[in-house]
Each structure stands twice: as structure tokens, then as C-alpha cells.
């Protein structure tokens, strides 16, 4: 009855547990905020969508071309579809990329509630601890953490306000803002609340690499957030993720650049935050809360889209899928083009061409691979920035085919 609902509304949360910077276990936070905790726990659900969803199927089986595209890299061992936050630590533990390849502690920055461990290792200094833990072998670092992505990764335990804790983000974004003429940028004090609703996600949903030799996690934003800026950053360092096993070219693979891709889209431009779609408000009794079941908005179109778009849920879902279908078709073309390039380079080699002669083809492969991998790794199948994703794939196709042409020319000159 109304009277009772009113009471419910007045006293929303009771402080049953005192939350501190060392309260990592979400269960304890759940004592104070049961509704959000319920949502958080539901991230164990597994439901599939046309291109995403939360079922950890093998991407390598779904698209065999990837085995050749990642030839010689750990991703050729195992590469699965991502799923809910509750799995973030488990899935890292179990992947062949960790079991069969030595990895540094850096991997943990985005898969575990790791800040307290950093603070401890750094003797109170999180930044130092971050560097120390990153440099440790993964197996040793892993012993320092026990929880996956959890409350404390996005919230200040004292105020519950959003906050950004990941050193990788704090460092990279500060650097990026200097290119915009802003010095010493600190999101936790300078960002608007609406910006924070995306920054907390940008802590992890970004392209990254491990700086050599200290293995520190770096986001390649020194020149900007667009793919071309990130590529320029890598080129300036002559950095490669690995040497391609079929062609011998030094190439790059992008990982989940959701934050960067979103930044190029019209939603970001309109001030629409990650949380607006992935954590839409929901009514719980007499109050509104953020849905902490972070997942595909296409499993939740009514709440995720319809407040802003006054069209039927089916129509909005269809719009998103039309966008994804177009990009998926272009992505497939780009991968076919890459495979064509591999074959041409191998043929040139058999015809006697050496790596010097094939250097130009290798540079084109590098450009093409980074672009195709970028859209493939960006988990919205281009929805976050439909035209930008298509533009990137158009360039990927162009560079891959040019590389194939280059290899053919080289092969011809080598023919006996």
C-alpha cells in the first residue's frame, strides 16, 4: 500500500556494513545495497544475441579464418566471446593464453579487484604497486587477488560516488587531455557525473599493450583516441604485438576498443554514456536504481533504448541489427582479403622473394590486420559508431588487397 511504499522510499539504504578501501568482496557491499548486488550477481547469466550476448562460444571455431589471421599469436590458441563481469577472473584463469603462455601480472588490472593489492605491494602507493605487480609473473601476481570486477572498482566505498581507479586509464587519459591543452587532468575531480558514467567503463574496455621491458599496461592515446592515432602511437615506437607466422610481418592486434569506438559515434557526441544503455534505470518497488546486470542492451531494449527513442522495441532492435549486419559483411570481406594476402606472400616466398623484397607488402598487412582486428575485437559489431566501423573496414580491405598486389608484383620479378 502507498503508505508503506513511501516509507520504503524515504530510507533507501541502511549502512549494515562499514565499507572501506579494503572491502573487496561484493557480498559485503550487497548487505548495504541488496538490489544492486542482485543485479551484479545476475551477470553470471548466459544468453546469446545475433553477434554478442553472454555465451562464451569459441570465436576461432565460429570463424576459422581467425586461426590464420592470428597465426603465431596466443589468440590462435583460444579466443572466446566475452561474458558477464562475474566471470572476469575465472575466464582469465582458464584461458589457454594464460595456461600455455607465460603472462605478466599486468593482465590482472582489468580482470580482478586489484587496487588493494596494488596499494599493499606499493607500501601505500597504488601507482608504484601497479608497476611492481605488472612486472611480476602472472602466476605470482594472481595469488594477490581473489575477486573479479566488483563494486569497489567503480565506486568510492565512503560516498558511493563513481570513481576511476585504474592507473592505465588515469595515465593515458591525462596524456590525452594534454593534447587538448588541459594539464594534470584528473577525472575523479574534474569530470562531470555524466562523463563518469562512461569513464568507469573506459578503465578497462579499451585497446592496450604492455610497455617493454617493464610490462606496464599502457593505452596508446598519446596522439588521440581514433584508430589512426593509436596506430601512429605504435608506429612511432616501432611496436608490434607479434611476428605473423605465415608472412613474417610485424603486426598488431587490437583488444576491445569499445571506449574509443564509442567516442567516434553519435551517441557519445550526444552525451549518451555507456551506463545509459548497459545499466539502464529500473524501478524497484518505490525507487529507481541502475540495473547492475551489465549485459547486451539488446537483451533489454525496452529500458536500454526506449526512454530516448520513441519507437517500438522490435524496431529499435532491428535498427541495431541492420547496422551490425552491414559491418559483419564488410568484416568478412576484410578477412577474405587478408587471407588472399597471406597466400600471395607465401607464393612470392616460394618464388624466391626474401623479407626485404616483401617489406612493403608487410607494411600493408600491418595496416590491414590492425583495422580488421579492431572492428572484430570491438564487441558491438560496429554499433557504437556504425559509419566509423565501416570506414575502418573499407580501409582494411584496401590495404589488404594492395598488399596482395604488391606481393604479386614481387613474385613476378622473382619468376625464373
Amino acid at each position: 500500500n502507498i503508505a508503506q511504499r513511501k516509507v520504503e522510499a524515504k530510507q533507501t539504504h541502511f549502512e549494515l556494513v562499514k565499507l572501506t578501501e579494503d572491502t573487496v568482496d561484493p557480498k559485503l557491499w550487497g548487505e548495504n545495497f541488496p538490489s544492486q548486488y542482485d543485479g551484479y550477481r545476475r551477470t553470471v547469466d548466459t544468453e546469446r544475441t545475433r553477434y554478442g550476448g553472454s555465451e562464451a562460444f569459441s570465436r576461432l571455431d565460429a570463424d576459422p579464418r581467425l586461426k590464420r589471421i592470428f597465426a603465431g599469436y596466443a589468440f590462435a590458441l583460444e579466443y572466446t566471446e566475452d561474458r558477464g563481469h562475474a566471470y572476469s577472473l575465472r575466464d582469465q584463469d582458464s584461458t589457454a593464453r594464460v595456461r600455455e603462455r607465460p603472462q605478466p601480472g599486468s593482465c590482472l588490472q582489468c580482470h580482478a579487484s586489484v587496487i588493494p593489492a596494488y596499494r599493499k605491494a606499493g607500501g601505500g602507493d597504488v601507482m608504484r604497486g601497479f608497476e611492481i605487480v605488472s612486472a611480476m609473473p602472472w602466476v605470482d601476481a594472481r595469488k594477490l587477488v581473489e575477486h573479479p570486477v566488483a563494486c569497489i572498482d567503480c565506486h568510492d566505498p565512503a560516498t558511493m560516488a563513481l570513481r576511476v581507479t585504474r592507473p592505465g586509464f588515469l595515465n593515458a587519459y591525462r596524456g590525452y587531455m594534454t593534447t587538448k591543452g588541459v594539464a594534470d587532468y584528473d577525472p575523479n575531480t574534474m569530470a562531470t557525473r555524466q562523463e563518469m558514467r562512461s569513464f568507469v567503463c573506459g578503465q578497462c574496455h579499451v585497446e592496450y599493450y604492455f610497455r617493454k621491458p617493464d610490462q606496464v599496461v599502457v593505452y596508446p592515446w598519446s596522439r588521440g583516441l581514433r584508430i589512426d592515432d593509436e596506430e601512429a602511437h605504435y608506429d612511432s615506437l616501432r611496436f608490434s604485438d607479434w611476428v605473423h607466422a605465415e608472412t613474417g610481418a610485424g603486426v598488431l592486434k587490437a583488444q576491445h576498443p569499445e571506449f574509443e569506438m564509442w567516442n567516434q559515434g553519435v551517441h557519445a557526441r550526444s552525451g549518451v554514456a555507456c551506463a545509459d544503455c548497459h545499466m539502464p534505470y529500473m524501478r524497484q518497488g518505490a525507487i529507481k536504481i541502475s540495473d547492475h546486470h551489465v549485459r547486451s542492451p539488446l537483451l533489454n531494449v525496452d529500458r536500454a533504448c526506449l526512454v530516448c527513442h520513441s519507437f517500438p522495441a522490435e524496431e529499435m532492435k532491428a535498427r541495431a541489427q541492420t547496422i551490425q549486419d552491414r559491418n559483419a559483411a564488410l568484416l568478412s570481406r576484410a578477412e577474405d582479403a587478408l587471407v588472399g594476402l597471406f597466400d600471395a606472400v607465401k607464393a612470392a616466398k616460394t618464388a624466391g622473394a626474401d623479407s626485404v623484397a616483401l617489406a612493403a607488402a608487410g607494411r600493408l598487412q600491418r595496416r590491414a590486420q590492425f583495422r580488421a582486428a579492431y572492428v572484430n575485437a570491438e564487441n558491438s559489431m560496429g554499433f557504437h559508431a556504425p559509419q566509423e566501423a565501416a570506414r575502418i573496414l573499407g580501409e582494411a580491405i584496401d590495404y589488404a588487397r594492395q598488399g596482395e598486389i604488391e606481393a604479386l608484383r614481387v613474385a613476378r620479378t622473382r619468376r625464373p
Binding site: A158, T159, R193, Q194, M196, D276, A286
Partner: protein, 155 residues
Amino acid sequence: MNPRLPLTLAVCLGILLGAGAATFRYAEGFSYFSNDPQACANCHVMREYLDSWQKSSHHTRAVCNDCHVPHELVPKLVTKAENGWNHSRKFTLQNYPEALRITPHNADRLQHGCLSCHEDLTSDIRDAARPGGSVHATDITCARCHADAGHGPRR
């Protein structure tokens, strides 16, 4: 001091500044002091907003003033005097944009309007509810997601 002084002052302010009492009255400037939505629409520019309001989910729940005008007496009169002045002047001079856009100041008043009815419902999602209070530059604005609350879909 005479409790009705602020009121009298505000009214006079509005009338005197309002592009001259004559124009002001003729343009139903006094509509600003009524609660009747029809009154707002005495200016044809406002008619489409009356129409859209009638199609909105709120036409049975809230009138213009509930959302756009503070409910406390003095701020209410000041608001009305200020908008009465702006709108009457611009209406007379016809120098307002083709697509009207709420001013930042009126957007704040609007936010308060929403809260006057939905404060409890939204107690958890607003900074005010935080132990630490407002720690970021801005709080959440309702109209960003519910722009259609008062006037139905924009398109």
C-alpha cells in the same frame, strides 16, 4: 516588513519591465500569473507546446507551471516576471529562434519541477542521496532521458 512586499515588488517588476504595460497586457502578459495551461498558449508560439503537452503522458498529471515554474511563492513570481519580460519582449520584436530551446536557467527550474513530484522515486539516483553528497560537477538531469515527458516524443 510587510509580508506581501516581495510579491508586490515582483509583480511591478514584471509589469514595468515587460515591454510596457500596454503591450504586456494585450499579449495576455498576465497569463504568466495564471495556472491555466491555456493561458500560456495565449501566445501562439506556445500553442504547439500546449498541443504536445496534451498528447504527453503528463497532461492528466501536471500543467505547465508544475514543471516550468517554481512552486514557492517568491521564486515563482520572479520566474514569471523574468520570463514574462523575455517572452513578451521577444514576442513583440519577433526575434526568437525558429526552434525554441529551453534556457539553462529554465532547465534548472524544470529539474526542480520533476523533483517536486518524483523526488522519492529518484532518491537513490541523485547525488543528494549520496553520503558524500554531490562530488561531481553536475547531478543527473531528468530531461536528458525524459525529454518527452511533458510534450510527447520530440518527433
